[in-house]
Symmetry: C2
């Protein structure tokens, strides 16, 4: 009988060309599909909650696959981890309803964007954060983040050249948390456009440095013009933290 | 006029064959010497407080070199960091007495050994900790650590085959700190024998797992027989935290 298995995944994206399978380049999806297929003794098709870009990390990505295996649900995690390289780990494996789809059933996602803010970079954070040596106005950054909360047309916060049916998204929460020299931007929403979190992070940093005014956020939400915003923050600071389902 | 410059260094040792210069292999010392020589416009000789092994990290290694440069002491840090790869950083640069020697003047050093203790490994700690999935008796581990505090002949805690004049060392402090699934063993002493911290960490874990008895520590301090102790913990969990001078 065919079963539907939901996986919760953590990965260090540094060595991968993103989530989605590509020819001749290591990706997270392909690495998982290859190793899960070996464990399942059949070729499986892995559906992720969404793609992550080259160099982006995950603390709680969700994916599912169908297989006829008889391995108990919690042992599937152990069997797959025994095959995977150490930079990808299955944190949890659960059998779910046969109709569950990790992409279409996702109701919200939370991302973390990490910034290392100090005069000298930290070698232990260079893979996991954006190094910003300038002084930052944290109060202004927190204030700017609150402006993106709510339901808006985020067309101006999307990488130019990408296309989707609707560019309207709802951001439920956006917060800035500081832990010594590490700044963490948490953003929870019902969906995200291409590069949206990295454009938000880049813009928030430009506002913190005084290069952009807080008002540029509201302007872009009205004008929908990407060019009014700041830079796109680099991928290594981005983590998909978790994905929620009903 | 010749000046003596003291550097405080942090590095991620993953990609290096340890501190000491070797033929045809990247090392921390050689990478630093090459780049500092470019900045100083003369060939410099870098003296470290001690070697770190392949894969071992540093949060506060200390080294010094002599040069005739006129660059102000605090600008030396910036100039060298501009040349270095991102996994090595100069945290501080200070001009010190011409007789200062970072190796011979060190009065104590502190190491941290990190263990990731959970049923599933964490991809973000695989470079920076020893993954131990078994249940550990933390009380026994803490108790065992207290037995090494004091002045002892640590001959039994030294990698076999190494030779030094004296194997007597004083350990000032040894503590176990837990942060969620991360265990940190802090050890401060006036000096350490080859592989000493990794042999202590390996033994403490064997005691925590119930494979060795606490009494094996005292036995080795008396018998001085390396074979009575547990395994040598892997290098990736080890960090040279700091080096103190009078």
């Amino acid at each position: 009988m065919v079963r539907n298995i939901k996986l919760t995944l953590a990965y260090d994206g540094t060595q991968y060309f993103g989530w989605q399978t590509q020819k001749n380049r290591p990706t997270i999806q392909e690495t998982l599909e290859t190793n899960i297929s070996i464990v399942m003794k059949e070729k499986i098709n892995l559906i992720g909650s969404g793609r992550t870009d080259r160099g982006v990390h995950a603390l709680g990505q969700v994916a599912n696959f169908k297989a006829t295996t008889k391995i108990p649900e919690d042992k599937i995690k152990i069997a797959i981890n025994a095959k995977l390289p150490s930079d990808i780990r299955v944190l949890e494996s659960r059998e779910v309803d046969i109709d569950f789809n990790s992409r279409f059933n996702a109701v919200d996602k939370t991302y973390i964007y990490q910034i290392y803010n100090s005069s000298v970079a930290n070698p232990f954070y260079s893979r996991y954060s954006w190094f910003v040596p300038q002084n930052l106005d944290l109060t202004k950054m927190e204030e700017a983040l609150q402006l993106i909360v709510g339901t808006h047309d985020f067309k101006g916060f999307m990488a130019t050249g990408s296309s989707v049916k609707s560019t309207i998204r709802t951001i439920y929460e956006a917060n800035l948390v500081t832990e010594n020299n590490l700044l963490k931007i948490y953003i929870k929403g019902n969906g995200f456009l291409y590069n949206m979190v990295r454009i938000i992070a880049g813009t928030i940093i430009d506002i913190g440095r005084g290069l952009k005014d807080i008002s540029s956020i509201d302007e872009v939400l009205i004008e929908k013009d990407r060019s009014l915003l700041g830079r796109t923050a680099p991928p290594e600071g981005l983590f998909l933290m978790n994905v929620n389902y009903e």
